[in-house]
């Protein structure tokens, strides 16, 4: 059975089990259910993977990792597999089995809720893990802040040093006049002095009275 078709059938099956459509998604060929306090992953396994030892080993090892992330882990296996293999190891590991053939999908072994995932994802008992995650985030934020403060300190130190240099320079050289250009002698008198009879009249002030 082509995988996309199988995955779609598993999704329909999960919907028929009461999970909402928007709670079901697909990622890396796996079907994920994000229900409150019940995060499920279904790993579809086809006949070709079962006959390939390496592929099978990868699936088994992958299940172990998935149990850390999800509350319940299911393998969706062909009906033929269920008939041939003993399901006890799965039961011991808490891994559920969905058996499919061309007509239907059935849950032959219910997955046990993963304790690790339960601790990390739900319930009051999961708080320490959540706190740890938050703590980790805070640590990262704190490290970022420390880095920012360090660079700010460097910048302030650089600016202070430059300002000190500027002040020292100013003290060494006399201050320029506020309007040096306009108050500096320019040699000639303004235009309104031209032919002004008052220049003569005023230049005699004080001499007339004496």
């Amino acid at each position: 059975m082509p995988e996309p078709q199988l995955n779609q059938r598993i999704q329909f099956y999960l919907m028929s089990m009461g999970y909402a459509q928007d709670q079901i998604s697909e990622s890396n060929g796996r079907i994920l259910v994000s229900a409150p306090n019940d995060r499920i992953v279904v790993v579809p396994v086809n006949a070709q993977q079962l006959s390939d030892r390496t592929a099978l080993l990868q699936i088994v090892l992958g299940v172990s990792n998935l149990q850390r992330e999800f509350d319940r882990v299911y393998l969706a296996v062909p009906r033929l597999f269920a008939a041939v293999y003993d399901t006890k190891p799965f039961q011991d590991q808490g891994v559920g089995l969905l058996v499919y053939d061309s007509r239907r999908i059935e849950e032959t072994l219910q997955a046990r809720k993963s304790e690790i995932a339960t601790v990390s994802n739900g319930g009051p008992e999961s708080k320490p893990i959540e706190v740890m995650a938050e703590l980790e985030k805070l640590r990262e934020a704190y490290a970022t802040l420390q880095e920012s403060i360090r660079s700010l300190r460097e910048e302030i130190s650089r600016q202070t040093s430059m300002e000190r240099d500027r002040i020292a320079e100013r003290l060494e050289t006399p201050p320029p006049p506020v309007s040096l250009v306009s108050a500096t002698p320019q040699g000639s008198l303004p235009v309104f002095f031209e032919n002004n009879p008052w220049l003569e009249v005023l230049s005699r002030r004080g001499k007339e009275s004496s």
């Binding site: 006399p174 309007s179 500096t184 008198l189 230049s203 009275s209």
Partner: protein, 422 residues
């Protein structure tokens, strides 16, 4: 004449609205800032939190410090609004001191160029009483520790106008915001012949406000700066008020007065009342026409004779009569010479008729000629000063440059140099 003064003469023109200042080396144009000071609320949280506020703020940065509109009239002080600073008005004198200091600080040369203090020439209203001279010298004395002033003198503004214009015998009419002065000059200001008039640009604003109220724009008639813009935009000076009103009533469309405030939705349209625009200019030159009586009876204050210091400012005298009264106090031989050079100065003389309305509207020199003709004076020449805005400062600079350093201050003549350091 001294080479030193060719470098370090400093002019200060204390006008009613503006303070024009700067050294001789500025060339033709002085620096200009408002002649006003702002006393900030020193308890203001913002001022306390962010800056060391001075007791009084002057100069171009002043608008940055303005606080609420409500307290502006109390805190914003124009010390020379009437040309005279009252003797005991400490706040006004504080502003004068700060403004003078501001001007000098703006041009403080270092000693390397041989600077040993400026020769400062300050120009005050011609009606300034003696105590204003004394107080100004006291203010200059307080700058002594910085050796910014080597010597100072004070001259009346009409004399400075005559000097700046290059005329030694003339009558100067200086018309500012609060009042106007007629001062004959014959090498010296003839102080006894001065006539002061209690009308100026502010009165033109007042009649503009009444016109706006009558034409349905009363809500806009409160703000002085707005009134000034309306006045300058729609106000006209008539050659003859009666002829102008008749012409405007016959052709209201031709004389229609409209003013749109740029950047706003405010538009003033006098429509059929556009003849009123002639009342604005006429009122400053001659408020005696019967048409103004209705405004007086409805509550507009009539310009009164007021005594400020030693001078009586005449309220209702028209400009023509004021010139005649002033000239006739001078020697008879001098009178024809005075009539031949009448100089008009100040922002209140800047009336220009629109090209289409020159039959009935006119400019200030023509109006003055008309008023004098009505009094029987026909041989007259009336001119605007060459640079109305800067002529007083020009006069200060020429005076400071030309008057010999050794001529000490003379309290009888009110001229000469008050020395501050050798």
């Amino acid at each position: 004449m001294s080479e030193y003064k060719g470098k370090y003469t400093f002019g200060m023109d204390f006008g009613t609205s503006d303070y024009k200042y700067g050294p001789i080396t500025l060339g033709d144009e002085p620096r200009i800032t408002h002649n006003r000071g702002y006393f900030p609320d020193r308890n203001s949280v913002m001022l306390r939190a962010f800056q060391e506020a001075s007791e009084v703020i002057v100069g171009d940065d002043l608008p940055q410090y303005l606080q609420s509109v409500e307290d502006l009239s109390e805190r914003l002080v124009y010390p020379m609004r009437n040309g005279i600073v009252e003797k005991n008005n400490d706040r006004a004198w504080r502003v004068v001191s700060e403004i003078a200091d501001y001007g000098l600080r703006s041009f403080s040369p270092n000693g390397a160029n041989g600077f040993d203090g400026y020769y400062v020439v300050a120009s005050l209203s011609s009606v300034s009483p003696r105590y204003m001279y004394e107080r100004m010298f006291q203010i200059f004395k307080t700058f002594d520790d910085r050796q910014l002033i080597k010597a100072a003198t004070i001259i009346p503004q009409p004399l400075a106008v005559a000097i700046g214009h290059g005329v030694t015998t003339c009558v100067v009419i200086e018309s500012g915001h609060g009042n106007s002065q007629v001062c004959p000059i014959s090498r010296y200001p003839i102080r006894d012949a001065q006539v002061a008039i209690n009308r100026g640009g502010g009165d033109a604003n007042a009649i503009t406000a009444e016109i706006l109220k009558d034409t349905g724009y009363g809500d806009l008639a409160n703000e002085e700066s707005f009134l000034r813009r309306v006045k300058e935009s729609i106000g006209l000076l008539p050659l003859s008020l009666e002829d102008a009103i008749d012409a405007a009533k016959k052709s209201p469309r031709k004389f229609r007065a409209k003013f749109k405030v740029p950047g706003t939705r405010v538009e003033i349209d006098l429509e059929d009342n556009s003849w009123m625009r002639f009342l604005i200019g006429e009122y400053v030159f001659n408020p005696n026409h019967e048409v103004y009586q209705s405004y007086f009876t409805r509550g507009m204050p009539k310009p009164k004779d007021v005594r400020i210091g030693d001078t009586t400012f005449r309220g209702m005298i028209d400009f023509g009569e004021a010139i005649v009264a002033s000239v006739e106090r001078c020697p008879v031989e001098l009178q024809p010479l005075l009539y031949k050079e009448i100089l008009l100065s100040g922002g209140n003389m800047s009336w220009q008729p629109p090209d289409k309305l020159t039959e009935v509207a006119t400019d200030a020199p023509t109006k003055i000629k008309q008023l004098l003709r009505e009094k029987g004076i026909k041989q007259v020449s009336v001119k605007m000063t060459k640079a109305p805005q800067h002529s007083v400062w020009h006069g200060c600079i020429i005076y400071g440059y030309a008057v010999p350093e050794e001529y000490g201050w003379n309290w009888n003549r009110l001229e000469g140099w008050m020395q501050f350091h050798a």
